[in-house]
Symmetry: C2
Subunit: 233 residues, 2 copies
Protein backbone atom coordinates (compact mmCIF):
# COMPACT_ATOMS: atom_id res chain seq x y z
CA UNK A 1 0.00 0.00 0.00
CA UNK A 2 1.34 3.42 -0.97
CA UNK A 3 1.74 6.05 1.75
CA UNK A 4 -0.60 8.29 -0.24
CA UNK A 5 -3.50 5.87 0.22
CA UNK A 6 -3.76 7.10 3.80
CA UNK A 7 -4.67 10.60 2.60
CA UNK A 8 -7.58 12.15 0.69
CA UNK A 9 -6.37 15.71 0.32
CA UNK A 10 -2.98 17.40 -0.09
CA UNK A 11 -2.78 21.05 0.92
CA UNK A 12 -0.12 23.51 -0.20
CA UNK A 13 1.21 26.75 1.20
CA UNK A 14 1.87 29.40 -1.48
CA UNK A 15 4.58 32.04 -0.71
CA UNK A 16 8.04 30.44 -0.88
CA UNK A 17 6.43 27.06 -1.46
CA UNK A 18 4.89 27.51 -4.92
CA UNK A 19 6.49 30.82 -5.85
CA UNK A 20 9.16 33.26 -4.65
CA UNK A 21 8.08 35.87 -2.11
CA UNK A 22 10.54 36.53 0.72
CA UNK A 23 13.23 37.61 -1.75
CA UNK A 24 11.01 40.53 -2.81
CA UNK A 25 10.64 41.73 0.77
CA UNK A 26 14.41 41.52 1.30
CA UNK A 27 14.99 43.51 -1.88
CA UNK A 28 12.47 46.12 -0.73
CA UNK A 29 14.21 46.38 2.65
CA UNK A 30 17.55 46.94 0.91
CA UNK A 31 15.97 49.72 -1.16
CA UNK A 32 14.43 51.19 2.00
CA UNK A 33 17.81 51.25 3.77
CA UNK A 34 19.49 52.86 0.77
CA UNK A 35 16.81 55.54 0.27
CA UNK A 36 15.99 56.35 3.88
CA UNK A 37 19.29 55.67 5.68
CA UNK A 38 21.00 58.91 4.53
CA UNK A 39 18.28 60.99 6.22
CA UNK A 40 18.53 59.27 9.61
CA UNK A 41 20.72 60.75 12.36
CA UNK A 42 23.99 58.98 13.12
CA UNK A 43 23.50 55.98 15.33
CA UNK A 44 20.03 55.06 14.01
CA UNK A 45 19.70 51.68 12.32
CA UNK A 46 16.78 52.20 9.97
CA UNK A 47 16.33 48.48 9.30
CA UNK A 48 16.15 47.72 13.02
CA UNK A 49 13.51 50.44 13.34
CA UNK A 50 11.58 48.99 10.39
CA UNK A 51 11.62 45.46 11.83
CA UNK A 52 10.42 46.68 15.23
CA UNK A 53 7.60 48.69 13.65
CA UNK A 54 6.61 45.69 11.54
CA UNK A 55 6.40 43.46 14.63
CA UNK A 56 4.33 46.11 16.43
CA UNK A 57 1.93 46.53 13.52
CA UNK A 58 1.32 42.92 12.54
CA UNK A 59 -1.58 42.44 14.96
CA UNK A 60 -3.26 45.56 13.56
CA UNK A 61 -2.43 45.44 9.89
CA UNK A 62 -1.65 41.78 9.26
CA UNK A 63 0.80 40.21 6.81
CA UNK A 64 1.44 41.21 3.23
CA UNK A 65 2.74 43.94 0.98
CA UNK A 66 0.31 46.71 1.96
CA UNK A 67 0.95 46.28 5.69
CA UNK A 68 4.69 46.14 4.97
CA UNK A 69 4.48 49.34 2.90
CA UNK A 70 2.70 51.22 5.69
CA UNK A 71 5.37 50.04 8.14
CA UNK A 72 8.14 51.20 5.77
CA UNK A 73 6.55 54.63 5.52
CA UNK A 74 6.03 54.90 9.26
CA UNK A 75 9.64 53.82 9.88
CA UNK A 76 10.94 56.28 7.26
CA UNK A 77 9.23 59.18 9.02
CA UNK A 78 10.02 58.22 12.62
CA UNK A 79 13.60 57.00 12.12
CA UNK A 80 14.53 60.24 10.32
CA UNK A 81 12.49 62.48 12.68
CA UNK A 82 10.58 63.68 9.64
CA UNK A 83 13.71 64.58 7.66
CA UNK A 84 13.02 62.11 4.85
CA UNK A 85 11.68 64.01 1.81
CA UNK A 86 8.16 63.04 0.80
CA UNK A 87 9.45 62.23 -2.70
CA UNK A 88 11.34 59.31 -1.13
CA UNK A 89 8.12 58.17 0.49
CA UNK A 90 6.44 58.39 -2.91
CA UNK A 91 9.06 55.97 -4.21
CA UNK A 92 8.35 53.55 -1.36
CA UNK A 93 4.62 53.59 -2.22
CA UNK A 94 5.35 53.10 -5.91
CA UNK A 95 7.59 50.17 -5.07
CA UNK A 96 4.83 48.58 -2.98
CA UNK A 97 2.41 48.87 -5.89
CA UNK A 98 5.06 47.31 -8.14
CA UNK A 99 5.38 44.41 -5.70
CA UNK A 100 1.61 43.88 -5.84
CA UNK A 101 1.72 43.77 -9.66
CA UNK A 102 4.92 41.83 -10.09
CA UNK A 103 4.68 38.67 -12.21
CA UNK A 104 4.61 35.46 -10.20
CA UNK A 105 7.90 33.55 -10.29
CA UNK A 106 7.17 29.88 -9.75
CA UNK A 107 9.69 27.71 -7.95
CA UNK A 108 11.26 24.85 -9.90
CA UNK A 109 9.02 21.89 -10.64
CA UNK A 110 5.84 23.34 -9.12
CA UNK A 111 3.41 22.87 -12.06
CA UNK A 112 4.62 19.32 -12.71
CA UNK A 113 4.31 18.48 -9.02
CA UNK A 114 0.76 19.79 -8.71
CA UNK A 115 -0.24 17.92 -11.86
CA UNK A 116 1.27 14.68 -10.54
CA UNK A 117 -0.25 14.95 -7.04
CA UNK A 118 -3.57 16.03 -8.57
CA UNK A 119 -3.82 12.70 -10.38
CA UNK A 120 -4.08 10.82 -7.09
CA UNK A 121 -5.36 13.39 -4.58
CA UNK A 122 -7.62 16.41 -4.21
CA UNK A 123 -5.59 19.61 -3.75
CA UNK A 124 -6.24 22.72 -1.66
CA UNK A 125 -4.26 25.90 -1.06
CA UNK A 126 -4.06 27.72 2.26
CA UNK A 127 -2.00 30.88 2.43
CA UNK A 128 -1.44 33.78 4.78
CA UNK A 129 -1.25 37.39 3.69
CA UNK A 130 -2.93 40.07 1.74
CA UNK A 131 -6.22 38.95 0.16
CA UNK A 132 -6.04 40.87 -3.11
CA UNK A 133 -2.36 40.07 -3.64
CA UNK A 134 -2.58 36.37 -2.84
CA UNK A 135 -5.64 35.86 -5.04
CA UNK A 136 -3.98 37.78 -7.86
CA UNK A 137 -0.94 35.52 -7.61
CA UNK A 138 -3.08 32.37 -7.63
CA UNK A 139 -5.05 33.56 -10.68
CA UNK A 140 -2.11 34.83 -12.72
CA UNK A 141 0.11 31.85 -11.90
CA UNK A 142 -2.03 29.56 -14.05
CA UNK A 143 -2.17 27.12 -11.12
CA UNK A 144 -5.66 27.94 -9.84
CA UNK A 145 -7.39 25.04 -11.63
CA UNK A 146 -5.42 22.50 -9.59
CA UNK A 147 -7.13 23.51 -6.34
CA UNK A 148 -10.54 22.42 -5.13
CA UNK A 149 -10.43 25.14 -2.46
CA UNK A 150 -8.31 28.24 -1.91
CA UNK A 151 -8.28 30.16 1.35
CA UNK A 152 -6.34 33.25 2.42
CA UNK A 153 -6.11 33.37 6.20
CA UNK A 154 -4.79 35.70 8.89
CA UNK A 155 -2.78 33.16 10.84
CA UNK A 156 -1.97 29.53 10.15
CA UNK A 157 -2.53 28.08 13.60
CA UNK A 158 -4.33 25.00 14.87
CA UNK A 159 -7.67 26.80 15.25
CA UNK A 160 -7.53 28.08 11.68
CA UNK A 161 -6.69 24.70 10.15
CA UNK A 162 -9.37 23.00 12.28
CA UNK A 163 -12.05 25.42 11.17
CA UNK A 164 -11.09 25.32 7.47
CA UNK A 165 -10.87 21.53 7.35
CA UNK A 166 -14.25 21.27 9.07
CA UNK A 167 -15.74 23.73 6.59
CA UNK A 168 -14.32 21.74 3.66
CA UNK A 169 -15.35 18.45 5.30
CA UNK A 170 -11.82 17.10 5.24
CA UNK A 171 -10.77 14.57 7.88
CA UNK A 172 -7.56 15.99 9.44
CA UNK A 173 -6.19 12.47 9.80
CA UNK A 174 -6.38 12.05 6.02
CA UNK A 175 -4.82 15.46 5.26
CA UNK A 176 -1.21 16.26 4.29
CA UNK A 177 0.08 19.81 4.19
CA UNK A 178 3.18 20.92 2.26
CA UNK A 179 4.99 24.17 3.02
CA UNK A 180 8.23 25.97 3.81
CA UNK A 181 7.40 27.05 7.36
CA UNK A 182 7.66 24.54 10.20
CA UNK A 183 5.68 26.84 12.48
CA UNK A 184 2.82 27.67 10.11
CA UNK A 185 2.65 24.80 7.65
CA UNK A 186 3.77 21.73 9.55
CA UNK A 187 3.31 21.77 13.33
CA UNK A 188 -0.38 22.85 13.47
CA UNK A 189 -1.38 20.20 10.90
CA UNK A 190 0.56 17.51 12.75
CA UNK A 191 -1.10 18.58 16.01
CA UNK A 192 -4.50 18.06 14.36
CA UNK A 193 -3.51 14.50 13.42
CA UNK A 194 -2.50 15.16 9.81
CA UNK A 195 0.88 14.91 8.14
CA UNK A 196 3.20 17.85 7.54
CA UNK A 197 5.79 17.91 4.78
CA UNK A 198 8.42 20.57 5.26
CA UNK A 199 10.14 21.84 2.11
CA UNK A 200 13.01 24.19 2.85
CA UNK A 201 12.72 27.40 0.82
CA UNK A 202 16.29 27.33 -0.48
CA UNK A 203 15.55 24.38 -2.66
CA UNK A 204 19.17 23.66 -3.55
CA UNK A 205 20.24 23.64 0.06
CA UNK A 206 19.20 20.18 1.19
CA UNK A 207 18.08 17.26 -0.88
CA UNK A 208 17.85 14.44 1.55
CA UNK A 209 14.64 13.18 3.01
CA UNK A 210 14.59 12.81 6.79
CA UNK A 211 11.65 11.46 8.71
CA UNK A 212 11.44 12.93 12.17
CA UNK A 213 10.41 11.04 15.29
CA UNK A 214 6.78 12.19 15.41
CA UNK A 215 6.02 10.33 12.20
CA UNK A 216 3.98 13.20 10.78
CA UNK A 217 6.67 15.79 10.21
CA UNK A 218 8.79 15.01 7.19
CA UNK A 219 11.65 17.00 5.62
CA UNK A 220 11.74 17.02 1.84
CA UNK A 221 14.54 18.59 -0.16
CA UNK A 222 12.20 19.88 -2.86
CA UNK A 223 8.50 20.12 -3.63
CA UNK A 224 9.19 17.75 -6.52
CA UNK A 225 9.74 15.01 -3.90
CA UNK A 226 6.07 15.11 -2.85
CA UNK A 227 4.73 12.64 -5.49
CA UNK A 228 7.51 10.19 -4.65
CA UNK A 229 6.79 10.50 -0.92
CA UNK A 230 3.11 9.76 -1.53
CA UNK A 231 3.99 6.79 -3.78
CA UNK A 232 6.45 5.38 -1.21
CA UNK A 233 5.59 3.11 1.66
CA UNK B 1 -46.98 30.13 5.06
CA UNK B 2 -44.46 32.78 6.10
CA UNK B 3 -42.20 34.28 3.45
CA UNK B 4 -39.21 33.06 5.47
CA UNK B 5 -40.20 29.42 4.93
CA UNK B 6 -38.94 29.76 1.36
CA UNK B 7 -35.38 30.36 2.62
CA UNK B 8 -32.80 28.32 4.53
CA UNK B 9 -30.07 30.88 4.99
CA UNK B 10 -29.94 34.65 5.47
CA UNK B 11 -26.69 36.36 4.53
CA UNK B 12 -25.57 39.79 5.73
CA UNK B 13 -23.17 42.37 4.40
CA UNK B 14 -21.06 44.03 7.13
CA UNK B 15 -19.79 47.60 6.47
CA UNK B 16 -22.68 50.08 6.64
CA UNK B 17 -25.10 47.20 7.12
CA UNK B 18 -24.09 45.93 10.57
CA UNK B 19 -21.74 48.74 11.60
CA UNK B 20 -20.64 52.21 10.49
CA UNK B 21 -17.78 52.35 7.99
CA UNK B 22 -18.17 54.93 5.21
CA UNK B 23 -18.33 57.77 7.74
CA UNK B 24 -14.78 56.95 8.82
CA UNK B 25 -13.49 57.17 5.26
CA UNK B 26 -15.23 60.51 4.78
CA UNK B 27 -13.69 61.81 8.01
CA UNK B 28 -10.27 60.62 6.87
CA UNK B 29 -10.72 62.38 3.53
CA UNK B 30 -11.61 65.61 5.31
CA UNK B 31 -8.46 65.29 7.41
CA UNK B 32 -6.44 64.57 4.27
CA UNK B 33 -7.78 67.71 2.54
CA UNK B 34 -7.04 69.83 5.60
CA UNK B 35 -3.49 68.51 6.12
CA UNK B 36 -2.39 68.16 2.50
CA UNK B 37 -4.35 70.92 0.75
CA UNK B 38 -2.13 73.78 1.99
CA UNK B 39 0.93 72.23 0.30
CA UNK B 40 -0.72 71.79 -3.11
CA UNK B 41 -0.24 74.46 -5.81
CA UNK B 42 -3.19 76.73 -6.54
CA UNK B 43 -5.70 75.06 -8.78
CA UNK B 44 -5.11 71.50 -7.57
CA UNK B 45 -8.08 69.76 -5.95
CA UNK B 46 -6.39 67.27 -3.65
CA UNK B 47 -9.61 65.30 -3.06
CA UNK B 48 -10.18 64.91 -6.79
CA UNK B 49 -6.62 63.65 -7.09
CA UNK B 50 -7.15 61.22 -4.21
CA UNK B 51 -10.36 59.83 -5.70
CA UNK B 52 -8.73 59.31 -9.09
CA UNK B 53 -5.74 57.55 -7.51
CA UNK B 54 -8.07 55.36 -5.48
CA UNK B 55 -9.97 54.31 -8.62
CA UNK B 56 -6.69 53.55 -10.39
CA UNK B 57 -5.35 51.49 -7.51
CA UNK B 58 -8.38 49.42 -6.61
CA UNK B 59 -7.58 46.62 -9.06
CA UNK B 60 -4.07 46.37 -7.62
CA UNK B 61 -4.54 47.01 -3.94
CA UNK B 62 -8.22 46.17 -3.36
CA UNK B 63 -10.70 47.71 -0.92
CA UNK B 64 -10.11 48.63 2.67
CA UNK B 65 -8.18 50.91 4.99
CA UNK B 66 -4.64 49.86 4.04
CA UNK B 67 -5.25 50.34 0.30
CA UNK B 68 -6.94 53.67 1.07
CA UNK B 69 -3.98 54.76 3.20
CA UNK B 70 -1.49 53.99 0.43
CA UNK B 71 -3.65 55.96 -2.01
CA UNK B 72 -3.77 58.92 0.41
CA UNK B 73 0.02 58.91 0.72
CA UNK B 74 0.52 58.62 -3.03
CA UNK B 75 -1.96 61.46 -3.62
CA UNK B 76 -0.30 63.62 -0.93
CA UNK B 77 3.08 63.30 -2.65
CA UNK B 78 1.91 63.68 -6.25
CA UNK B 79 -0.69 66.43 -5.74
CA UNK B 80 1.85 68.57 -3.87
CA UNK B 81 4.77 67.71 -6.22
CA UNK B 82 6.63 66.42 -3.17
CA UNK B 83 6.10 69.61 -1.12
CA UNK B 84 4.10 67.90 1.63
CA UNK B 85 6.35 67.39 4.69
CA UNK B 86 6.93 63.79 5.64
CA UNK B 87 5.61 64.55 9.13
CA UNK B 88 2.18 65.08 7.52
CA UNK B 89 2.51 61.70 5.84
CA UNK B 90 3.37 60.22 9.21
CA UNK B 91 0.05 61.57 10.50
CA UNK B 92 -1.82 59.96 7.60
CA UNK B 93 -0.23 56.57 8.41
CA UNK B 94 -1.04 56.96 12.11
CA UNK B 95 -4.61 57.78 11.22
CA UNK B 96 -4.89 54.65 9.07
CA UNK B 97 -3.65 52.52 11.96
CA UNK B 98 -6.19 54.26 14.21
CA UNK B 99 -8.94 53.38 11.71
CA UNK B 100 -7.86 49.73 11.80
CA UNK B 101 -8.05 49.71 15.61
CA UNK B 102 -11.16 51.82 16.05
CA UNK B 103 -13.96 50.24 18.10
CA UNK B 104 -16.83 48.89 16.02
CA UNK B 105 -19.92 51.08 16.10
CA UNK B 106 -22.95 48.88 15.47
CA UNK B 107 -25.95 50.31 13.68
CA UNK B 108 -29.23 50.51 15.58
CA UNK B 109 -31.00 47.24 16.24
CA UNK B 110 -28.35 44.98 14.72
CA UNK B 111 -27.79 42.53 17.62
CA UNK B 112 -31.53 42.12 18.19
CA UNK B 113 -32.13 41.57 14.48
CA UNK B 114 -29.44 38.90 14.17
CA UNK B 115 -30.78 37.15 17.28
CA UNK B 116 -34.32 37.21 15.88
CA UNK B 117 -33.39 36.00 12.39
CA UNK B 118 -31.06 33.40 13.89
CA UNK B 119 -34.01 31.76 15.65
CA UNK B 120 -35.56 30.80 12.31
CA UNK B 121 -32.67 30.75 9.83
CA UNK B 122 -28.97 29.95 9.51
CA UNK B 123 -26.89 33.14 9.14
CA UNK B 124 -23.78 33.86 7.10
CA UNK B 125 -21.70 37.00 6.60
CA UNK B 126 -20.07 37.99 3.30
CA UNK B 127 -18.06 41.18 3.24
CA UNK B 128 -15.63 42.94 0.95
CA UNK B 129 -12.45 44.59 2.10
CA UNK B 130 -9.33 44.14 4.11
CA UNK B 131 -9.00 40.65 5.61
CA UNK B 132 -7.38 41.55 8.93
CA UNK B 133 -9.64 44.57 9.49
CA UNK B 134 -12.90 42.85 8.61
CA UNK B 135 -12.13 39.80 10.76
CA UNK B 136 -11.10 42.06 13.65
CA UNK B 137 -14.43 43.90 13.39
CA UNK B 138 -16.39 40.64 13.31
CA UNK B 139 -14.53 39.28 16.36
CA UNK B 140 -14.63 42.45 18.45
CA UNK B 141 -18.25 43.24 17.61
CA UNK B 142 -19.48 40.31 19.68
CA UNK B 143 -21.59 39.23 16.70
CA UNK B 144 -19.37 36.41 15.41
CA UNK B 145 -21.33 33.61 17.12
CA UNK B 146 -24.42 34.38 15.04
CA UNK B 147 -22.75 33.30 11.79
CA UNK B 148 -22.30 29.77 10.52
CA UNK B 149 -19.84 31.04 7.91
CA UNK B 150 -17.89 34.29 7.45
CA UNK B 151 -16.12 35.14 4.22
CA UNK B 152 -14.09 38.22 3.24
CA UNK B 153 -14.03 38.55 -0.55
CA UNK B 154 -12.43 40.78 -3.18
CA UNK B 155 -15.56 41.59 -5.15
CA UNK B 156 -19.19 40.79 -4.51
CA UNK B 157 -20.23 39.76 -8.00
CA UNK B 158 -22.28 36.86 -9.36
CA UNK B 159 -19.24 34.58 -9.76
CA UNK B 160 -18.18 35.18 -6.15
CA UNK B 161 -21.62 34.50 -4.67
CA UNK B 162 -22.03 31.40 -6.86
CA UNK B 163 -18.72 29.95 -5.74
CA UNK B 164 -19.28 30.71 -2.03
CA UNK B 165 -22.81 29.33 -1.97
CA UNK B 166 -21.62 26.16 -3.75
CA UNK B 167 -18.80 25.80 -1.21
CA UNK B 168 -21.24 26.21 1.66
CA UNK B 169 -23.79 23.92 -0.05
CA UNK B 170 -26.48 26.58 0.02
CA UNK B 171 -29.18 26.54 -2.66
CA UNK B 172 -29.19 30.08 -4.14
CA UNK B 173 -32.96 29.87 -4.56
CA UNK B 174 -33.31 29.45 -0.80
CA UNK B 175 -30.87 32.28 0.06
CA UNK B 176 -31.66 35.87 1.09
CA UNK B 177 -28.96 38.53 1.27
CA UNK B 178 -29.28 41.76 3.25
CA UNK B 179 -27.08 44.78 2.57
CA UNK B 180 -26.77 48.49 1.87
CA UNK B 181 -25.39 48.23 -1.67
CA UNK B 182 -27.75 47.49 -4.55
CA UNK B 183 -24.81 46.70 -6.80
CA UNK B 184 -22.87 44.39 -4.45
CA UNK B 185 -25.46 43.00 -2.06
CA UNK B 186 -28.68 42.78 -4.00
CA UNK B 187 -28.40 42.44 -7.78
CA UNK B 188 -25.89 39.54 -7.95
CA UNK B 189 -27.91 37.49 -5.45
CA UNK B 190 -31.14 38.16 -7.33
CA UNK B 191 -29.42 37.15 -10.58
CA UNK B 192 -28.52 33.81 -8.98
CA UNK B 193 -32.18 33.22 -8.10
CA UNK B 194 -32.07 34.33 -4.48
CA UNK B 195 -33.71 37.28 -2.78
CA UNK B 196 -32.00 40.60 -2.07
CA UNK B 197 -33.06 42.93 0.72
CA UNK B 198 -31.73 46.45 0.32
CA UNK B 199 -31.35 48.47 3.52
CA UNK B 200 -30.40 52.09 2.86
CA UNK B 201 -27.36 53.11 4.94
CA UNK B 202 -28.90 56.31 6.29
CA UNK B 203 -31.28 54.40 8.47
CA UNK B 204 -33.38 57.40 9.48
CA UNK B 205 -33.77 58.53 5.89
CA UNK B 206 -36.43 56.17 4.57
CA UNK B 207 -38.66 53.87 6.55
CA UNK B 208 -41.16 52.58 4.07
CA UNK B 209 -41.03 49.11 2.59
CA UNK B 210 -41.34 48.95 -1.18
CA UNK B 211 -41.42 45.69 -3.11
CA UNK B 212 -39.96 46.10 -6.54
CA UNK B 213 -41.27 44.42 -9.68
CA UNK B 214 -38.67 41.62 -9.91
CA UNK B 215 -39.98 40.05 -6.73
CA UNK B 216 -36.48 39.41 -5.40
CA UNK B 217 -35.28 42.93 -4.74
CA UNK B 218 -36.89 44.50 -1.74
CA UNK B 219 -36.32 47.90 -0.10
CA UNK B 220 -36.39 47.92 3.69
CA UNK B 221 -36.16 51.09 5.76
CA UNK B 222 -34.04 49.45 8.45
CA UNK B 223 -32.30 46.16 9.18
CA UNK B 224 -34.79 45.77 12.04
CA UNK B 225 -37.47 45.18 9.36
CA UNK B 226 -35.84 41.88 8.29
CA UNK B 227 -37.55 39.59 10.85
CA UNK B 228 -40.93 41.13 10.00
CA UNK B 229 -40.30 40.67 6.26
CA UNK B 230 -39.45 37.01 6.81
CA UNK B 231 -42.54 36.52 9.00
CA UNK B 232 -44.79 38.23 6.45
CA UNK B 233 -46.49 36.55 3.53
Amino acid sequence: MARGDAFDVVGFDADDTLWRSEDDFLAAEAMFAELVGPYAPDGIDVLDALHAIERDNVAVSGYGVKAFALSMIQAAVTATRGAVPSAVIGRLVDHAHDMLMQPVELLDGVPETLAAVGRTHRLVLITKGDLVHQLRKVRTSGLEHHFEHIEVVLEKDVATYRSILREWQIDPARFVFVGNSVRSDVLPVVELGGAGLHVEYHVTWEHEVVDDHDGGFVELGSITDVPGWLAGS
